[in-house]
């Protein structure tokens, strides 16, 4: 065990994967000698050579197109998109190519070895273009897996599982936590399951569901609610696609209430999908409407970042409203 922040855990996972399999290659803008703008790929080029860790030209559609071809060839690409906000030039490559490669070829070809890493989310004074949470765009795209870690321990285990999974994975890293979140991380190789939610805290009155950096906000709100005598169950969804509806439904059948929390805007956010599924599976168990505490339906603001964020106090108020419905 070692104390690592989330970036160090990512870096450690990449070293583990590259040591384990020489077909693993890491590339993107500034990821080579410089080690990435956040330093997630520090020292990889020194350790593994320029052939396996390299800078690419500044072209997101090129990076993912190249990564698709490399994966189809049998290599194991881990492509970095510098910010989730800049993934959209690659949207066609991801949605029309990555996600459909296996299906359209009847399983003859696939890009299952591909992992796309990208930092997402707000809370760093990043304004419109360094703060977005794009998971819902990609959740509408069969063939992809989408994974979000909440802390360094989860990040290493989930990233290793993503790199080795036989399907393309979009791995969204909460950049607010890159240096802020520190936890014990095993130095050895380990994997955490994809498609499986994690019950962070058990409780009996309401289920609080989120992912990534928002788990800390749920924990803060749950602590405040506990002072009122409210027992919250907290679930980290971890995988957005495919998502673990069974764990969530089992929890809601126990607590009778569900609150879903994400940074992305409310309308068309992934909370909508969860709410629709859970009301189907748990209709007769629900004591109150499913609450969504999300970002506003605005572009991500800069000066009003604090007001925009679906933080612990907003969650706490929604818990009270749901309990007293």
């Amino acid at each position: 065990m070692a104390q690592m922040n989330l970036l160090q855990a990512i870096n450690n996972a990449l070293i583990t994967a590259m040591t384990d399999d020489d077909k693993v290659m890491v590339f993107g803008e500034d990821v080579g000698h410089f080690g990435g703008v956040f330093r997630a790929t520090s020292h990889l080029q020194e350790k593994f050579g320029k052939g396996r860790c390299f800078n690419t030209p500044l072209t997101e559609q090129g990076i993912i197109g190249f990564a698709n071809g490399l994966a189809a060839q049998g290599s194991v690409p881990v492509a970095e998109i510098q910010f989730g906000d800049y993934i959209f030039p690659a949207f066609d490559q991801i949605v029309n190519e990555t996600a459909k490669w296996r299906y359209r070829s009847g399983g003859q070809f696939d890009v299952g070895t591909l992992t796309i890493r990208t930092p997402y989310g707000g809370g760093i004074a990043g304004g419109h273009y360094h703060s977005q949470s794009p998971e819902a765009f990609f959740a509408h795209c069969p063939g992809l897996k989408i994974v979000v870690p909440r802390n360094p321990y989860q990040a290493k285990g989930l990233l290793l599982a993503s790199i080795r999974d036989k399907n393309p994975v979009l791995f969204l890293e909460p950049k607010k936590l890159y240096r802020a979140s520190i936890s014990d991380v095993p130095e050895e190789d380990y994997q955490l399951p994809l498609g499986k939610a994690d019950i962070v805290q058990e409780g009996s009155d309401i289920t609080l569901l989120g992912w990534g950096a928002q788990i800390e906000e749920l924990q803060k709100a749950a602590a405040t609610a506990l002072d009122d005598g409210v027992s919250c169950e907290i679930i980290d969804l971890r995988s957005i696609l495919p998502w673990d509806a069974h764990t969530v439904a089992a929890s809601v059948m126990k607590t009778g209430r569900l609150l879903i929390n994400h940074e992305a805007p409310l309308t068309g956010g992934f909370a909508s999908e969860i709410a629709a599924t859970i009301q189907e599976k748990c209709f007769l168990y629900l004591e109150a409407p499913i609450a969504r505490v999300c970002g506003l339906d605005t572009p991500y603001p800069l000066a009003h970042e604090k007001e925009y964020m679906p933080d612990a106090t907003k969650i706490y108020e929604a818990i009270k409203r749901t309990l007293h419905y």
């Binding site: 290659m25 052939g51 396996r52 390299f54 690419t56 030209p57 072209t59 559609q61 090129g62 993912i64 197109g65 190249f66 990564a67 698709n68 071809g69 490399l70 994966a71 189809a72 060839q73 049998g74 290599s75 690409p77 030039p89 066609d92 490559q93 029309n96 190519e97 459909k100 490669w101 296996r102 299906y103 359209r104 070829s105 009847g106 399983g107 003859q108 070809f109 696939d110 299952g112 069969p142 063939g143 897996k145 036989k166 399907n167 498609g195 495919p242 509806a245 069974h246």
Partner: protein, 395 residues
């Protein structure tokens, strides 16, 4: 290529120095004239009689297939088709220079390259009739072929996406120490996509052994090349990326063969990309959904008909004493019969069972897709007459 990425290496001038298109004139390699006579000063590529005849037969086969399938679409037997009439030399003669280990990533008008690799008539038909014998499981429109055994990547409709993918595939071949390259076909219209820029730039910077083969056939559906770009074709762009470039007469089998053979040698030996621009003409409509009479003249088409690549090459073969018109007629008749018989055989083959609707989305079927499949099957059982292709075969 000169390394000009550092300011100190840039020469200076004292006057405003305008560089325009006229400064370079990229010539086109041509070995056979329009009558199929080798130009006296040309160096003929080393090509065996057997290979020359295989190229001719594949071109002729491709035309037979195209003619039959356009007619089949008109009869309503298939939904869609894309003919390659006039462009057979560009695809077949280039594919003829490759190793079977080289990966082909095509756009959608390269059935000639696939036929040269050995794709059978039944395989063409199974794909076009989206039946259960198509290894792509009938999931895409006609002409989206793909065959792992032949190293021919399954085609996708979005234009240009295969270009950066080819760079990545070639990089993987290099890293794995393979004695193989990737060839990537596309049209001059697709070269306007951002993926063209991304793919060529990445291949040059990352030294990928890939041939970018542009079929400049003059039209992107109805848009003529002069409304597609203002520069000197696609070849001029290669220079900007620092990529070795060849412009070739795309209707001249020997020129395409010589150019692609050389390009492959360079790509493999120097582990770098090469760009080929083949100047040709799409005698066919864009697809069966298109009618060229709305945007180009009969006179223009007739002019290009006289440059027909198959006739031109047959003339050269005749000069060589390798070609007999009577044998050719017999072969064409046999091909037409084979295509017709195969079509009749394959058009009635059933489609994949309903379970395949959820297979291959992921490596295994996740819970939510399994739930959706079970719901769908219950529904089909309730309304079997609505879904006759699958309802009778459900377990």
């Amino acid at each position: 290529m000169k390394d000009r990425n550092h300011l100190a290496q840039v020469t200076t001038v004292a006057d405003v120095n305008i560089i325009d298109n006229g400064i370079i004139d990229i010539p086109m390699l041509q070995i056979l004239d329009e009558n199929g006579k080798a130009t006296p000063e040309a160096t003929l590529p080393d090509i065996s009689q057997a290979q020359a005849l295989k190229i001719h037969e594949t071109m002729a086969y491709t035309r037979v297939l195209d003619e039959r399938m356009v007619a089949a679409q008109r009869q309503g037997r298939i939904s869609f088709y894309l003919a390659s009439t006039g462009e057979e030399a560009a695809t077949v003669a280039s594919a003829a220079t490759l190793s079977t280990e080289d990966l082909i990533m095509s756009q959608y008008r390269e059935q000639g390259a696939l036929a040269y690799r050995g794709y059978t008539t039944d395989q063409f038909m199974n794909q076009m009739f989206s039946n259960k014998d198509d290894p792509n499981k009938g999931r895409q429109m006609p002409i989206h072929y793909g065959d792992k055994a032949l190293n021919f990547m399954t085609i996708s409709s979005p234009l240009g996406t295969q270009i950066p993918q080819a760079s990545g595939y070639a990089y993987g071949q290099k890293m794995a120490g393979k004695d193989a390259i990737t060839i990537c076909y596309f049209g001059e219209g697709a070269a306007s996509e951002g993926d063209f820029h991304a793919g060529l730039n990445m291949a040059a910077v990352l030294s990928c052994p890939v041939i970018f083969f542009c079929r400049n056939n003059g039209y992107a559906i109805s848009t003529p090349a002069e409304e597609q770009f203002a520069g000197d074709g696609i070849a001029s762009r290669g220079l900007g990326y620092g990529i070795k470039t060849i412009r070739v007469d795309g209707n001249d089998v020997l020129a395409v063969y010589a150019a692609t053979k050389r390009a492959r040698e360079i790509a493999l030996a120097e582990q770098c990309p090469v760009l080929i621009e083949a100047m040709t003409y799409r005698l066919a409509a864009h697809s069966t959904s298109d009618d060229p009479s709305g945007y180009r003249s009969k006179e223009e088409e007739e002019k290009w008909r006289t440059k027909d690549p198959i006739t031109r090459f047959a003339n050269w073969l005749t000069h060589k004493g390798w070609f007999n018109e009577q044998d050719n007629e017999k072969r064409l008749t046999a091909m037409r019969q084979e295509v017709l018989a195969s079509m009749k055989r394959c058009e009635t083959t059933e489609i994949c069972p309903i379970d395949d609707i959820v297979n291959d989305v992921y490596d295994s079927v996740p819970w939510h897709l399994d739930e959706q499949l079970q719901d769908l099957k219950q529904h089909i059982k309730k309304y079997p007459h609505m879904y006759p292709k699958t309802s009778g075969r459900m377990k």
